[in-house]
């Protein structure tokens, strides 16, 4: 109990202390308090992981207090730590601790150190609340909380207008997702009578055939609920359609990008679907949608990544693309593969981001790769880290011997897709596999494009920047060591536990995957997607490696041997290049359709609706009418006695007549 509380609440404690008293504590003490809090939480997480996931201990479940009760609706503040949560605890607290330490060096020249550290710790707390929840509503609490922290951190340099816009955009796009999430929660209460996970999971199988009335139509219950919740996941995990905030979020300091926009927060959507696997498994149509959205995101984001010049944006699109991989794994019911990739991705992507931060730090804030080049001798350690991260991201390895982290996790995802295509998800599986292969090629290409543009060739910026270029301090390089080790080893050593032999023993009931009969004549019996994935032909697993190597080769062709090629290609492709370079014009479209429309409608409703119509015919109209009537009435007051006498006679005659005939 104490360990669990420490793992979740120490970061909150750090955030509160530094948030409220940071100014009086000073920079040094603020860094110490928050780093100590998160480090201790990380240690606790490792111990919990050992107990729950490795030693086969029971799920830790605690009810801390009542939160909302209303009639039958009852939700507690609770902690539920099973293997899935334990994995997330280690990832979140581990990466967060490294990012905290890295930030000491990275933010040393900033005037808002305590605020920054407090925000980081606050984010960590909300993320922990999200992953340890035992019900949908507390998950939503963490969900919105990380959204808030993300908003605050993107906007950390709040004097910059671009940071202001990016932070608001991030919050609002996420809110659009949360709109779906909330409707999903409402629907879950209607369908399950509870939003507690254990109740929902128990009742889900019975509801597979049921339907309910939603928006005037009778719709299948579980599919609808899963899709509504998935809209939330799309927002948080930047899936196609609700992704536009993620590249802009790079306005925040780089440690933020590494922690929030690569390793943890953006994976919340993946976690949510994995957590709800006992519900999603009974909604195959919803899973198909998840798979399609994931595969499209993987390839669209990777294609944009090919064309961008901002070093952080390239990595951001890469993150979005990798999240797409995770979602299509989820859609194929390969939840363990998705979480495995989530874990390895957390290592190598935060490594890449922090490495990029180190490059930016060295070049006095420069982020445009067109103004970099040839600096690997100046920052050799950073260069080495970036290589490790890129190798892991591209999924390079020697089959049968040893590979980087991504080699294992990406392979199992693609193999799962292929296996699903061969068995139950016929159409989607093979399509997803092919799209995944194309995305893998692009991934390798843009990763080496980044490496080559940044570190090789000749320096293209101004020489003052080059003279100032220096390797980062040890407080920044040190935290990268565990991340680099993870990027190298996590795949090799995680494979058996996450998706291999020890899988069932490792996950136990934290993830549910239904078994099914493959419809075709095979030698296999009943199994899950991942089990089938282990039996696909060898070329299925080798092809991703081949295309990745091809992508690296192409990058060398484009950026070392024939540097005039990229320009020629861009010109040759013309409109297509401009479409991709401008990110498929999503921002322009959304601005025109939603942002500007809302502003215009708001103004129109105000001036026309409120002022002209409601007030015009309401109070102002009535008042004007009263004035006009009283003017008419006063016009009758002529002052001539015979006028009044005449009126009296007429009136009297009228009354008499009325009484005479009707009374």
């Amino acid at each position: 109990m104490l360990l669990d509380l420490a793992a979740v609440f120490l970061p909150l404690l750090g955030a509160l202390v530094v948030g409220l008293f940071g100014r009086s504590l000073g920079d040094r003490a603020s860094q110490l308090v928050t780093c100590a809090g998160v480090l201790a939480a990380a240690v606790a997480s490792v111990l919990i992981f050992h107990d729950v996931a490795l030693s086969g201990g029971d799920t830790h479940a605690w009810v801390l207090a009542n939160w909302i009760t209303s009639g039958d609706f009852k939700v507690n503040w609770g902690l539920k730590i099973d293997t899935l949560t334990a994995v997330m605890l280690v990832v979140v607290n581990g990466v967060s601790a490294m990012v905290h330490i890295y930030s000491i060096g990275y933010m040393s020249h900033d005037k808002g150190v305590p605020r920054f550290m407090a925000y980081l710790s606050l984010f960590t707390f909300f993320m922990l609340m999200l992953v340890t929840s035992d019900n949908l509503l507390q998950m939503f609490f963490g969900w919105e909380g990380v959204g808030l922290s993300s908003y605050l951190l993107i906007n950390f340099w709040y004097e910059k207008a671009s940071a202001n816009s990016a932070s608001i955009k991030a919050f609002l796009v996420n809110r659009v997702g949360d709109f779906g999430f909330m409707l999903g929660i409402f629907g879950c209460y209607l369908a399950f009578g509870s939003v507690q996970f254990d109740v929902m999971f128990q009742k889900a199988p019975d509801l597979m055939q049921s339907s309910f009335s939603f928006l005037g139509a009778s719709v299948p219950t579980l599919t609808t609920l899963c899709l509504l919740l998935f809209v939330g996941a799309m927002g948080k995990s930047a899936q196609l359609g609700l992704h536009t905030w993620l590249p802009d979020a790079m306005e925040g300091p780089t440690p933020v990008s590494a922690l929030i926009h690569a390793a943890t927060m953006v994976t919340a959507g993946v976690f949510m679907v994995a957590r709800l696997s006992p519900v999603f498994e009974f909604a195959p149509d919803a899973l198909a949608v998840v798979a399609v959205v994931g595969a499209l995101t993987a390839i669209v984001a990777a294609s944009i990544g090919l064309t961008q010049f901002d070093i952080k944006r390239v990595i951001a699109y890469s993150t979005m693309s990798q999240l797409g991989y995770m979602f299509f794994a989820l859609g194929m019911s390969a939840y363990p593969a998705a979480v495995f990739h989530l874990m390895t991705h957390a290592f190598f992507k935060s490594l890449l981001f922090l490495g990029a931060g180190s490059v930016i730090h060295a070049l006095s804030g420069e982020q445009d790769m067109r103004k970099m080049g040839g600096i690997w001798r100046k920052i050799p350690f950073t260069y080495a880290y970036m290589w490790i991260g890129s190798l892991a991201l591209a999924g390079i390895g020697i089959p049968g011997v040893m590979g980087m982290a991504g080699f294992y996790s990406k392979d199992i995802i693609l193999e799962s897709a292929f296996a699903a295509g061969m068995t139950h998800h016929q159409a989607f599986g093979v399509t997803a596999y092919v799209l995944g292969l194309i995305a893998a090629f692009m991934t390798a290409f843009y990763s080496w494009r980044l490496l080559l543009l940044t570190f090789h060739g000749t320096f293209r910026g101004d020489h003052h920047t080059l003279e100032h270029a220096h390797e980062a301090p040890w407080s920044m390089l040190g935290p990268l060591v565990p991340l680099a080790l993870g990027a190298i080893l996590a795949g090799k050593f995680g494979y058996d536990l996450f998706v291999g032999e020890a899988m069932a023993e490792f996950w136990r009931d934290s993830i549910l995957t239904l078994s099914y009969f493959p419809p075709r004549e095979t030698h296999l019996g009943v199994g899950t997607t991942i089990q089938f994935a282990h039996h696909v032909s060898d070329w299925v697993g080798l092809l991703p490696l081949v295309v990745a190597l091809a992508g690296i080769f192409m990058a060398y062709v484009f950026y070392v041997w024939a540097p005039s090629l990229p320009g020629k290609c861009a010109r040759g492709l013309g409109a297509l290049y401009r479409l991709v370079f401008n990110k498929y014009y999503f921002d322009e479209l959304y601005n025109a359709v939603f942002v500007r429309t809302a502003q215009r409608v708001g103004k129109a409703l105000w001036t026309t609706g409120d002022d002209a119509i409601i007030d015009g015919y309401g109070p102002n109209g009535v008042a004007a009418l009263a004035v006009r009537l009283s003017q008419r009435a006063s016009a009758l007051e002529t002052g001539y006695v015979y006028h009044y006498a005449f009126a009296m006679v007429i009136g009297l005659a009228g009354f008499v007549t009325w009484f005479w005939f009707w009374a």
Partner: protein, 498 residues
Amino acid sequence: MSSSFPLLSVVTFLPLVGVLILLFLRGGDEAAWARRIALTTSLVTFVVSLGILCVFDPAVAGFQLMERFAWIPSFHIEYIKGVDGISVWFVLLATFLTPICILSGSVVTKRVKEFMIAFLVLETMMVGMFTALDMVLFYLFFEGVLIPMFLIVGVWGGAGRIYAAYKFFLYTFLGSVLMLVAIFAMVIHAGTTDMTAMMGGVFPDKMAMWLWLAFFASFAVKMPMWPFHTWLPYAHVEAPTAGSVILAGVLLKMGGYGMIRIAIQMLPDASAFFAPMVFALSVIAIIYTSLVALAQTDMKRLIAYSSVAHMGYVTLGIFSGNTQGMEGAVLVMISHGFVASALFLCIGVVYDRMHSREIARYGGMATNMPHYALVFMVFMLASVGLPGTSGFVGEFLSMQGVFLVSSWTAFLAATGVVLGAAYMLWLYRRIFYGPLDKDDVRAMPDLNAREYAMFVPLILMVLWLGIHPATFRDVFASSVHKITSDYQAQTTRGGEAP
């Protein structure tokens, strides 16, 4: 449960003791003494009102602390007071916010004594209204509230106060006339003015429809509901800060309280009949006023429009007719009492320093007023309905309640979650972020002790209600349960979960 000690009457009329003292106040430092006396009176009233919470038995669903004696026997008009779990919180909201208003009113320099008297009289009227269980008494207090409020806007208001006051009057007058007629009809039909005797569908169907419409007109103006809301932006903009606080914090709740007490409890069938109309108006209110708020350039007007949107969740919850919706509605009202009051106080902070409500006059204040920025951020987030703040719990429950009855309504209402965030974040950005490049803005000092004294209690309440709403909910749970189960028993279409 009845008590021999007339606690409710004491709380109601205690502020008048302060008024009496103020009336005899003379001398040079009249203003300073007026402030002290008013603050003391309101604090004492608040402490005494806490006694209601202590004596109140949450397990009992009906009215408690009843006081009853013949008042005008020849007309069968009685003096009846009592509270249930819902009205307890409105009484406390009124007594909690009045001292804060008086604190914030200490920047008033014109006719200080009269200003304080107006607020104390207002407090009596508000508490009297929430504790009245006799139709005539209810009407007197309900309308009595208007007099001090009218004066506060009309005397201590800004440049356009006359137009604002007249608009306020026109709207409420229309509602009041209809309500008075309806009350006559009810009293004649029921043969008593006792409100508890009128509950549970004692009126014939057709009559109930007309009565419902008459009351609805009055309450819809008070809430205010679209399209009866256009008086509110004007009244808020022109009212002094303290006036806006009490207007948003308590006066708007009178409409919601009346809808529960009279529409739901006395006219259940008519309420069920008209519920779709209320849903439609509420959803329009949420979307329409949120969009209008997006276009505002005046801070107070923006928050005023946001109030209309938030009140949309109240009416939705009330007319969902189920436990979640009704409890959500009450929680939204309590939360909005803290949050909207606090936001108006926040605007007051800079208005006192710069004498401008124009958003464009500000910018970059996170740099020179970090504490103020943090305080504003907390209330902004509560207004946006971030889970963990008071704003979330009520709106979530009321939408949950509506979802059980009509998913379309809940769907449309939930768009307010996005729109609400849009206008609040956009407001916050324009005030606090960006470069600090205006000299007069840079010259402003951060919060002072008096301002802390106003904000700290409000922040605590916002977090308390957000993290552990059970403290509040447990008091009204059985009352709401009784109201909703009576309502569902009397109407053919209930809204409980299947």
